[in-house]
């Protein structure tokens, strides 16, 4: 088989779409790339402080609009997902939520790895959603709704 045969390239991020781990993997990458872009913008924005009070105040006023606040909400949601899924990956890597694969020995037993991954994923989703609800009030205040 050739080196590149069987490779899906970037499509491999999406297919098979029904695979939960693949979906989480893709979302993890997309949020990671998005957060990296935001990081550079945030560094640039923060660096405005070096130019003194006037520049900093002008920057703060420029950022003071619903569009940027909504963007910030998306960034926080992306960070929450990325963080919760990242913790799941670390726990999985350490073998704390799913045993490391071993050679099957007869009589074969049903492997519960998938169920454990599901349970941990649901736990992480609840954790992430809990923090998101907690953060929502802040954004409702920023958006002028509360």
């Amino acid at each position: 088989m050739g080196e590149k045969e069987g490779r899906r390239g970037i499509l491999g991020w999406i297919f098979p779409i029904t695979n939960l781990e693949r979906l989480l993997y893709t979302l993890h990458r997309i949020t990671g790339i998005g957060l990296t872009l935001y990081l550079f913008i945030h560094i640039y924005e923060t660096s405005m402080r070096m130019y003194g009070y006037e520049t900093w105040t002008a920057t703060a006023e420029f950022l003071e609009n619903p569009l940027f606040h909504f963007g910030l909400l998306l960034v926080v949601l992306a960070a929450l997902f990325h963080g919760a899924n990242g913790i799941r990956l670390i726990l999985q890597e350490l073998g704390l939520i799913a045993p490391k694969p071993t050679q099957p020995v007869y009589p074969y037993r049903k492997y519960h790895r998938d169920r454990k991954i599901w349970m941990t994923t649901i736990l992480m989703l609840i954790l992430g959603a809990g923090v998101a609800v907690f953060a929502l009030r802040d954004f409702l205040i920023l958006l002028g709704v509360m």
Binding site: E3, L39, R49, M50, I90, A135, D138
Partner: protein
């Protein structure tokens, strides 16, 4: 998928970021600080934090962890698609350069007091 040392770097910095980011974000939360986001964007408050050695240390560690984490993640993705040694060397040089500039640009407002 990033391998070996790269993956360990991602995991270690990721765990560190999860803790530090909660502290960073809570400063801007209306739950914990009167005036939340608005209070912490005020020039006096930002300057007070940047003039404090503990906050400076905190932000330098956070900045380093976040940059190292993103550097490793992007490098891992790039390595999946660029397999030639020459291409990978170019990616290494480019990413290192961009991330070093970002680090310097990020550290200057922290240490400028």
């Amino acid at each position: 998928m990033a391998d070996g040392r790269l993956r360990l770097t991602i995991y270690f910095t990721g765990a560190l970021i999860a803790i530090l980011l909660l502290i960073h974000l809570s400063l801007f939360s209306f739950w914990f600080v009167e005036g939340g986001y608005y209070t912490n964007m005020e020039w006096e408050n930002v300057s007070a934090r940047m003039g404090n050695i503990l906050w400076d240390t905190f932000y330098i560690i956070l900045l380093s962890a976040v940059l190292l984490h993103s550097y490793s993640g992007i490098k891992g993705i790039a390595y999946e698609y660029i397999t030639s040694s020459g291409g990978r060397r170019l990616i290494d040089v480019l990413l290192t350069l961009i991330w070093l500039i970002a680090f310097v640009y990020g550290v200057l407002p922290i240490i400028s007091g």
